[in-house]
């Protein structure tokens, strides 16, 4: 949320293990042992829910209800995954989570692409073609990132109805685009602010126009911030629940809403193993992004909160 000029300013993941202090080392060896023990203990704390989800998604229901939640499966099985994916009862129909997973993908891709593109253009204008009131405008834009979305639910429901997008995936794309612009603009503005304006001015004297400068000079060096922005938008939009729950119908629900319906459905036996498999499916895309590009994920988080 800060307007820190540079999202690369500080990146704790970039710093290797060598950059820390070693204050505790001056005391004796046992201190180091306790230190590592504590760190390991916290690793267990953070990994425990993931462990619970994974092992219980691979065992028959009877093993869970018999009090074996912590144990490894005795009978390994993929049946809960098959069920969660294609046959489980989600709401009224027994379709599994597959159609909703597809909904989420159809929703996320255009929303992320469009909001990132708009954010890049906005950041370019706000830093290299500034005008009076640009800072105020940016402040207003930034505040829009942090409003509780409850304040827009009622009018948005009306507007989506009026333009015929109520209860559709394009409607959700629209909503995510609208409320995603603020953050993407923030990222690109702060990144371009550190970009030498002299280069832009020189290109302009050489006769290059507005779009040419953007396309040839700024965009080619925007790789890192584009990755940060795309990851942030992807994670936020994929994980959104409020808009999905408010503005979708049975056949346009995103993954998070469908998962919640699967778990909360009160009919029949609670198939915990299927719930866990479904939860992992909903978590997998963002988790994968985090594991593959964790450094950019952290940069995005930090740019949204820490002074540079």
């Amino acid at each position: 949320m800060s307007t820190a000029p540079d999202t690369r300013a500080f990146d704790p993941t970039a710093a290797g293990a060598g950059s820390g202090r070693k204050i505790l080392q001056t005391s004796l060896r046992p201190a180091r042992v306790i230190l590592y023990l504590l760190l390991a203990l916290f690793c267990i704390y953070y990994l425990l829910p993931l462990y619970v989800m994974v092992v219980n998604s691979l065992k028959p229901l009877s093993e869970i209800t018999a009090g074996g939640m912590m144990a490894l499966p005795r009978d390994w099985t993929l049946a809960p995954w098959q069920s969660a994916w294609s046959t489980a009862q989600v709401g009224v129909e027994a379709t599994g989570l597959r159609p909703y997973f597809i909904n989420s993908i159809i929703m996320v891709v255009p929303a992320v692409a469009l909001s990132t593109l708009l954010g890049a253009l906005n950041g370019y204008v706000l830093t290299k073609w500034t005008f009076r009131g640009a800072t105020v405008l940016f402040g207003l834009l930034l505040f829009g990132c942090f409003i509780p979305f409850q304040i827009v639910l009622i009018p948005m429901a009306r507007v989506l109805g009026l333009i015929g997008l109520a209860g559709t995936v394009p409607g959700l794309i629209f909503v995510h685009l609208v409320y995603g612009i603020g953050f993407s603009t923030l990222y690109f503005r702060n990144y371009y602010a550190a970009f030498p304006t002299e280069l832009v001015r020189a290109a302009q004297i050489d006769g290059a126009g507005f779009f040419r400068i953007f396309w040839r000079i700024l965009l080619p060096s925007s790789g890192p911030i584009a990755v940060v922005c795309i990851i942030w938008q992807f994670t936020n939009i994929w994980n959104d629940f409020l808009f999905g729950a408010s503005f979708s119908d049975f056949d346009s629900q995103p993954m998070t809403v469908a998962l919640n319906n699967l778990v909360q459905s009160s009919t029949g036996v609670k198939e915990y193993n299927v719930h866990f498999a479904g939860a992992i499916m909903a978590a997998l895309p963002t988790l994968l992004v985090y594991i593959v590009a964790g450094r950019y994920f952290v940069r995005g988080l930090m740019a949204g909160s820490v002074k540079g």
Binding site: M1, I151, L259, M302
Partner: protein
């Protein structure tokens, strides 16, 4: 000085060229004007009307706000938010600081450990909610497991207990966000000058004094950011409650966000729902606006 000024020549083409940057920005300006500020104004207006199942425009003055504060469920939601918010922010900050200090000791495999501490932040609150919902369920989760280990009298039924259920929300929320707070503090720690610490160490300061007197005071900006981020997340908390407890047992874990949703969309009290949304916005604005103000001013 902006570059646009240097290209200030007459002619239609040139004028278009000068207007181009603003033209590019205009869709965003329109979107923000309508969908953020216009919508806020609309909801604010609705909070003074007799809207029930649909928006309607009969003016009722402060009636909805009067009623809102007389509804017991709102009372519950607000006091839950206070309990949840205070514990959530305090525990996240304490845990985050502890983890950051522990990790700042030239730890082997620091990168790996950091990744482990931070991954919950990539998950949806619905996923977190599902995992903790069943883990804390006395029938199959922790309580049943400990019983299975032979400790028959062990009891942990907070999630089913209307006095304790709000604390399960704290547990799950802290699990999700504390790694993020750790990363913020770690960034702050890495910005502290090593020389000063060495000097203090040579002067014989104890490790504890070193942190209390030198390191932690310098983390003030990180504390500030953490507070703003966590407070704003606490007020907006919705998904986690829905997934973990559904607001129950009874209404014991309702928060303002869930209250607003149920009054607006399932109880058909849109006027009251709008009033509660306005109060949520005001609370967040009271935290965010001064913060943004100071950040934007500093830049000048």
């Amino acid at each position: 000085m902006s570059i646009a000024d240097t290209a200030n020549r007459p002619g239609a083409v040139d004028r278009l060229r000068d207007a181009l940057p603003k033209l590019v920005l205009s869709p965003t300006v329109a979107i923000v004007a309508i969908f953020v500020y216009g919508f806020i104004a609309f909801t604010l207006y609705l909070s003074f009307t007799d809207s029930r199942i649909l928006p309607s425009f009969g003016w009722v003055g402060w009636q909805n706000y009067h009623n809102l504060f007389r509804i017991r469920a709102w009372d519950t939601a607000v006091s839950n938010l206070v309990v949840f918010g205070v514990l959530y922010i305090a525990i996240c900050c304490a845990l985050g600081l502890l983890l950051a200090i522990l990790l700042d000791q030239r730890i082997r495999a620091e990168g790996f450990i950091r990744t482990v501490y931070l991954y919950p932040m990539a998950l949806s609150f619905i996923v977190t909610g599902v995992a903790w919902k069943w883990f804390l369920d006395p029938g199959i989760g922790l309580e049943a497991v400990v019983h299975g280990w032979g400790w028959e009298s062990f009891q942990f039924d907070w999630i089913k207990n209307s006095h304790m259920a709000i604390y399960t929300i704290v547990i799950a929320a802290v699990w999700q966000t504390s790694g993020f707070v750790m990363a913020m503090f770690l960034a702050g720690l890495r910005g502290i000058d090593n020389e000063m610490l060495k000097a203090a160490q040579i002067d014989g300061a104890s490790t504890f004094a070193l942190y209390r007197r030198i390191v932690i005071p310098q983390l003030r900006p990180a504390f500030m950011s953490a507070f703003v981020v966590l407070a704003h997340m606490a007020i907006k908390s919705y998904d986690l409650v829905i997934a973990l407890t559904g607001g129950g047992p009874g209404t014991s874990t309702e928060l303002p966000a869930t209250f607003m949703y149920s009054y607006t969309f399932t109880r058909n009290q849109m006027g009251i729902g709008a009033a509660s949304a306005v109060i949520m916005l005001m609370t967040i604005a009271a935290i965010i606006v001064p913060y943004l103000w100071s950040e934007l001013r500093e830049k000048k």
